[in-house]
Amino acid sequence: MSGVIRPAVLALVFGAQVAGIVHARVNGTRYLCWAPYDQIAFYRIEADRHGAALTPAEIVARYRMPAAGRENRSIQHVLQAVAQYEATYGRPDSVVAHVTYSVNGGMEQTWTSQ
């Protein structure tokens, strides 16, 4: 690898992590900032299509996540994944997802996909 590319790659690798650490402070996600087991969130995903609730198996098949589970970094990761699914692959299905979660033993909150 040439003398220019190696330092550029090193700067990119380290810079991305510094950006990740700063970004984590702003939007609540924990990507590229080395935060495993920094937040324990128990969650439950429910979803309905035209008023009919999806089964837990359908939720697993849809989001590739358990219908009820634990997130060890940030609950935002679960919410972003569900939101991304409903905004892309799931858009034609008109499914509304609700994620009920509790962070670090705190009060339950509910997030709903648009």
């Binding site: 790659v9 380290f14 650490i21 935060a35 495993p36 087991y37 324990i40 590739r64 634990r70 990761h77």
Partner: protein
């Protein structure tokens, strides 16, 4: 870094247990093989299929959907094979790391610190140059623990004790912790352990970057993750401890005072990493012993 060793000419052995005769120092190559072993067989990569909820929307394009992951898997396995038999070792390290990065970029749900940690170190080993020596690895290790300690220090739940109580009692069901916490004021034990964890991680970062001896950071990391492993009954820190042990040869080798450690047979490193990797499977058997 011993440049003479790194640049030793000659045909490298095909024996995976030998690490001489490549552009990498033997201890770095040993670390690379151990890290690749931890990532192998990449079953989740095999099972993941076409991109799903990618971080980069472009990876969802039909152009990538059919061939991207098969190509990544072929490159990953070819690189692991080349690395193990001491061929194209630097390119192999970069290829393995980039394979993992692409896999994660194409599958949001696959993001895991325990997957990225060995991958980043493999990339840095692949970028080895005698001029910078161990410094890129030191900076990387410091970044990991600066990030880890900062994230915790800025979260009130860590200081309050709520986080650790939830982790140890509700998530991991650690009996000794629940008993001890029951004898103390609410959240007191969680607050103490939380503060100690933040201090320990900050200390690892500082030791890694400021201590003259490059071994300080990696040794403190191994001690920290061993402690976490014991405290959680083998439920936490297994993969990070394995990764720490895997990169340890690269850190321990450069110091001229580490002659004794240098003579540690590579097979012993393999045995230690393998043992820790299998620990979660061995513990249930050990608990059944009288």
């Amino acid at each position: 870094m011993d440049v003479a060793i790194a640049q030793r000419a000659g045909s490298p052995s095909w024996n995976p247990l030998h690490s001489d005769g490549t552009p990498l120092p033997p201890s770095w190559l040993l670390s690379a093989k151990l890290l690749a072993f931890l990532l192998f067989p990449a079953r989740r990569m095999l099972d993941a299929g076409r991109p799903f909820l990618p971080f980069l929307p472009q990876l969802d394009a039909p152009f990538f959907a059919t061939w991207l992951m098969p190509a990544v898997i072929v490159a990953f396995y070819a690189a692991v094979a080349a690395l193990m038999v001491n061929r194209l070792v630097r390119a192999a390290c970069v290829t393995i790391a980039c394979g993992i990065f692409v896999h994660v970029a194409a599958h949001r749900l696959e993001y895991a610190n325990s997957l990225l940690f060995p991958s980043v170190f493999l990339l840095l080993i692949g970028l080895y140059t005698p001029r910078t020596g161990v410094w890129p690895l030191r900076i990387q290790l410091a970044l990991v623990y600066i990030g880890a300690s900062l994230n915790k220090a800025l979260d009130p739940d860590w200081w309050h004790g709520r986080f650790f109580d939830t982790l140890m009692i509700d998530a991991l069901h650690v009996r000794w912790y629940a008993l001890a916490a029951g004898h103390l004021p609410p959240h007191a034990l969680g607050a103490i352990v939380g503060a100690l964890t933040i201090a320990a991680e900050a200390s690892i970062a500082l030791a890694t970057i400021l201590w003259r001896d490059s071994r300080a950071g990696i040794v403190s990391m191994i001690v920290f993750h061993t402690t976490m492993l014991v405290l959680t009954g083998g439920q936490l820190s297994v993969l990070f401890l394995c990764s720490a042990l895997a990169i340890a040869p690269a850190f321990l080798e450069p110091s001229s005072s580490s002659e004794r450690i240098l003579r540690t047979p590579p097979l012993l490193w393999w045995a230690i990493v393998l043992f820790v990797r299998l620990l979660p499977r061995l513990l249930p058997y050990a608990q059944r012993l009288p």
